[in-house]
Assembly symmetry: D3
Homo-oligomer: 290 residues x 6
């Protein structure tokens, strides 16, 4: 259950309206890596958590904080929109700066939301839940979280440098600092989990069941070998189970695929009879005697 | 530019048809973390790469390999669908096993694709490019890649254990091994980049511009303090710039938000006059004298 | 800002696992009218609210409650999934009931979320924010809210009657009761607003600017006049400004549309010259002398 | 079955081209509450109608009218696009007004549709059918319809005030008047249905099956009690079955959720053993002896 | 403007309910190539038409017919759903055939639409307008239409053969016949247009502006030359302007791409200095002296 | 399996940056008919191909070429973005041309992709796989391919004429030429297939099973008969099986639809009893005695 505190977690006070910037700021509200994404991702990971209570609690703490971040940015955007040009713009529109501003706004900020923030990104594309993941494996999910905080902080930094409004920058400096913490936090949690299991997700799959001869091979699928210079092509692997190998000319290991003609009820295009050799004995025949 | 080699990278030969399993296998073809995602993510990261050529080359090598993985799974699904029940099912449908199979299939595998794989996930939801990221910052993107390979390997392992078909398992054991390599690879590349910059993305944002007093604080937004037990709440931070701090009762630091009534052309609901104290001098007035 | 309370608002304890029902229950979690929708709709309406504080507070109170509903249903679904069939299903699959259950499950509940709830509806379609509205006009939005609670309660009732599990029914009986309250609440709030303005949204548009001769006409666009029997075709209108009129044979009042051939850079299909009479004097010519 | 009449229902004649306005006008064509939404919503409600014929007929009459509204707006947009800047813009682009216009256009109006309207909203987002509802319960659906006409009229009014073109305003004044009628119509139909059943949808669910002690409680989930001032917190409820009650400090009524560790085939993160007290006797044990 | 005729264009009377088939039949209602697609595609092409009136009229005639097809299938699906299993299924569910049926149904047909058709495809994915095209070039669009009718008839035929219900087959035989007509119709219209212009869309682009040395080359991007056997690799081209040529080993004609490091405000990953030769004189320098 | 060649298929070198044009060019990269669409469509058609090997090979050859086209356009867009305005734009923004450019850019090109191309269209809408089709019937799919190349070439031509940059035009002239070839190619392949089967897809459905009396009728669903003038209304049909017939006043051939009231568990709106005559003997009774 949740309670609402009327004060914002941190100030969200622009120095002046800026409806064009409001459109851009939507990216970190309702974009792929915006605050809605981490809010919903953490809440679902927490609610679905089947691991230790300390993880469930930690994840829900940060998830609850992210609702407050969504609240801050929403509030900020609504105030930035206070300056949207009014009706009967014909006079103003002869001023190219005003016209340019109108061109740069999201029209839905007037027509649909009436000077309110929308749960969309900076192109107006609606947020959807496929931006989130809750897999049931905490190491996998903490890597998703570290990625989300990395992409998110990168975007907020770019937005910080796209404005000179001291009020907007003040709020963004808070979000950037929290993202600093959250990247640190997920790195810490990842290290803790990796110490209890191996680095490869999932750590519980028996190694003998994977095709081990290709488990540490970097395969060069192009002419030229610049890709041989990296750490990924030399030295021990990070799971401590092998050594990286650089395969300059990887060979195909599989069959030339051949699909049986479709049965009549599919109404496909029947082959004219030029089948490849041995294809009358089908894949299935050879493999399993079906 | 690209060339096609007719042989598959590895065998894709099921032992027998299994159209219900074909539906499930779609998840790692066209799902959020399926092979289409890593294929497109790596190709776009490579094409957009503004870093060292060795990174561009490495990313495109693995992107090119992933096209081959899409090819393998597509080929496998098409063969698994060879056993889809034929037309005029009325007799067969009295057999509950056949009827159950029909219920478990994706109907589009017959109606739309005519026994072919579809670029969708296991619920039939189409793949879309918001599953991918290419941010222009390699450390951020390599974390995205490590996450994608972690989620992807987890899903393939679950699918491996959902079948006993030796042909399917053979192919999946190859994909699992490649995911082992690719997780190792991204860990290696991440470490290499972190050695050249700090662990926090982006590393180039001046620390004095963030709100440093909250950069290392874990905030407990719930009753109870199980979340205090983790590495994220104690000890030095991972960027080497501070120490984690556990804030048991985080305080709100921001204003009670107040939005100005909307102008007439918005046709909103006007307030009846019970404004909070001091709101006739608006946010903007107080902050910037506008 | 928000705080999390570890206890659920109400019990979410199934009597036994039921993974097929878990799939259905997703509808009221992540569907068009599920709890995620009202949660996000109310939160955004509250944060964007430019009306009286009592409305802002009221909307955020209910929005905060809805987060708790999302939490309850997520928790319930995760427990219903405890009974998902395990790996190596081949033996069990010969039992048609088990096979049927597998066919009726959402495969992502195993492959993607690892026995966790997903932010999707009962077909696996992801939640998206176009399910919500925050328009800046409270009367319009409260009608959206009344609709959402009406559709939502209807769906929960249907789900209640699709199970006999007493634990599931207990939780749903709570949600149904809250939906009873919430429908009542929005009816009350709508009445209050309608008393301060007219019933037609927006009430502030000057009536003389609309085409008043069609403001109260029910137009019959079919043969047969069953539609004449309703309240909408007789008596005073509900805004108190007119009387309903039944137009049995509505006439077209507009022009036969004609579009100018496209300019060359569009590379359209040029007309061969058989223009309708008078079209060389185009619409624009007649209207504005362009 | 349907017939087409070549005349428009009402005039759609702009006074001059305005491609930037054409982009905005798309909102009420293909947006969430545009004419395509009500057209498809009413048609599906009518075709699916299992209630009295007079309702089926009425719904299909208005659905048929809405096709004509889609036709009018499409025609209007195509004409507004006649003024899109031509190829070889380099000279013109030095004129900032022209450049601004180009920036404010939807580029697909040239590249994709060749100066035609598109079935999308004002950000270019395609219309989709999740904007509509046909639930099988007419009272629920008429509330959806009243909401759609309220949001729709609000948006058309905002668009009316964003232009001074007399031809555009003439068409919009017609649409606004029809929305006046349609709001009146749905209010009338709702009242008629509410007189035959209770106000709470669905009216047929036995009241004893809901958790009646919370059916009329307004719960205050925040500090401060501004929300106590509304009609929703005092007096008799609107279904005539109870009295509103204001709960200033709602208590959690549910369990602290605990999920069982996932089985091995899920490859989740196993708990380290610090289970909460009594959790070895799981939820299911307590409830149903499983 | 449109009128509704209460009779269906053709009978839609199933012989018995079949809710599992209802799910499948959704594909040709709300799928990628369902009747909603052709309905909306033709209506928008007609309304946007800038060519001869005979084309505009013809397109709108068929668009109007397609509304009737949507109506027929919707009506059929609603009746097929009459047999959906009722509440309190526990007894019935012990019958595996009933359980299988439940697994094969779309759960939204009960929970959301209350035994009504939904504007979605057979996986429950909502219809969206990106399925349609109206380009302003009739030859391009008629090819889109021919494709849509080809895919559509193929799907209806597969559905015809998936049932033995004589009432369903009767309706589908009508739709198949209309698709026969509509394929013929678009072939006829295409031929007519091709006689007035060249076969390549758009026919108005000056041939000297394209890179003519590759305008008729089939390029073999794989080992092996099976693709040399087709008509596309030999003989005169279909636009009468050249001869097909088979290029067994196509050479790359472009540069090795090199992107400039991003400016500081992007916060990308700076290259370490190992630039390829000559890259300090950038692309732009060489081309345009910028 | 695939190999990457580091050289582009053709040059992608703009003469100068142009971030506004970069936004437009996205249409033919990630739009409905962009290069990603044909790339994925051809690859899936090839991998799923159950027809002659020469078709499979041919389709995969062109699919492989399309990957190279995606690569070229991506590279071009990244370079066009080199000119995006830098941070701290306040000074520049006073220049209306700069401000206009900012308004015309896709903000995600800075915030999200850091001056890289995105897999989206010109409005920022993400590419999704429902843009593609692989049906199992080659004639149907080749018509889809011909349409895609027609729409694609039309869009590239429009983009060619929207710029004067000689480097951009050079690349586009290559793509236009390849689209010339590809339209020719699909026309050739279609003709080859039509010679082996009939022109109507699918050719294998028995003609006696369709409702032949409407297989060649053009139905006029409007007042006025302009649509009678086309080839589709006169002369022999293109499948050689009939003659086109113009039906000036098509009659309804179906029933007035009537749906049974929904069962109680649906909680619909019960009819008040005014049923149409004979409806107590339901459709099902009359048809099949069920």
């Amino acid at each position: 259950m949740f309670h609402h505190i009327k004060e914002l977690q941190y100030n969200a006070k622009p120095s002046k309206p800026d409806p064009v910037y409001a459109k851009k700021l939507q990216e970190v509200l309702g974009g792929q890596y915006g605050e809605m994404t981490v809010m919903m991702q953490y809440l679902f990971q927490g609610w679905n958590c089947r691991g230790d209570q300390k993880y469930k609690d930690m994840i829900l703490d940060i998830g609850t904080e992210e609702i407050a971040h969504v609240e801050m940015i929403t509030t900020m955007i609504a105030q930035l929109l206070d300056g949207a040009p009014a009706k009967e713009q014909d006079e103003a529109a002869k001023d190219p700066v005003v016209e340019a501003a109108l061109g740069g706004m999201n029209p839905q900020h007037i027509i649909v939301s009436g000077l309110g923030a929308t749960p969309t990104d900076s192109t107006g594309y609606p947020w959807n839940s496929r931006y989130t993941i809750s897999s049931g494996n905490l190491l996998a999910d903490f890597r998703a979280n570290l990625n989300a905080e990395s992409q998110g902080r990168l975007q907020v930094v770019r937005l910080y440098e796209s404005t000179t409004d001291p009020g907007v920058r003040d709020m963004l400096s808070f979000l950037i600092a929290r993202d600093t913490m959250h990247q640190n936090q997920w790195i810490a949690a990842i290290e803790e989990l990796e110490q209890n299991q191996k680095a490869i997700v999932p750590s519980t799959f028996p190694q003998e069941n994977e095709k081990q001869q290709v488990s540490y091979s970097f395969m060069n699928f192009s002419k030229g070998e610049e890709s041989a210079q990296g750490r990924w092509a030399n030295g021990p692997s990070y799971d401590g189970q092998g050594n990286f190998e650089y395969v300059a000319n990887p060979e195909a290991m599989g069959q030339v695929p051949f699909l049986k003609p479709s049965p009549a009820y599919i109404h496909g295009t029947p082959p004219t009879g030029n089948l490849p050799p041995n294809t009358n004995s089908s894949t299935f025949d050879k493999e399993a005697g079906t």
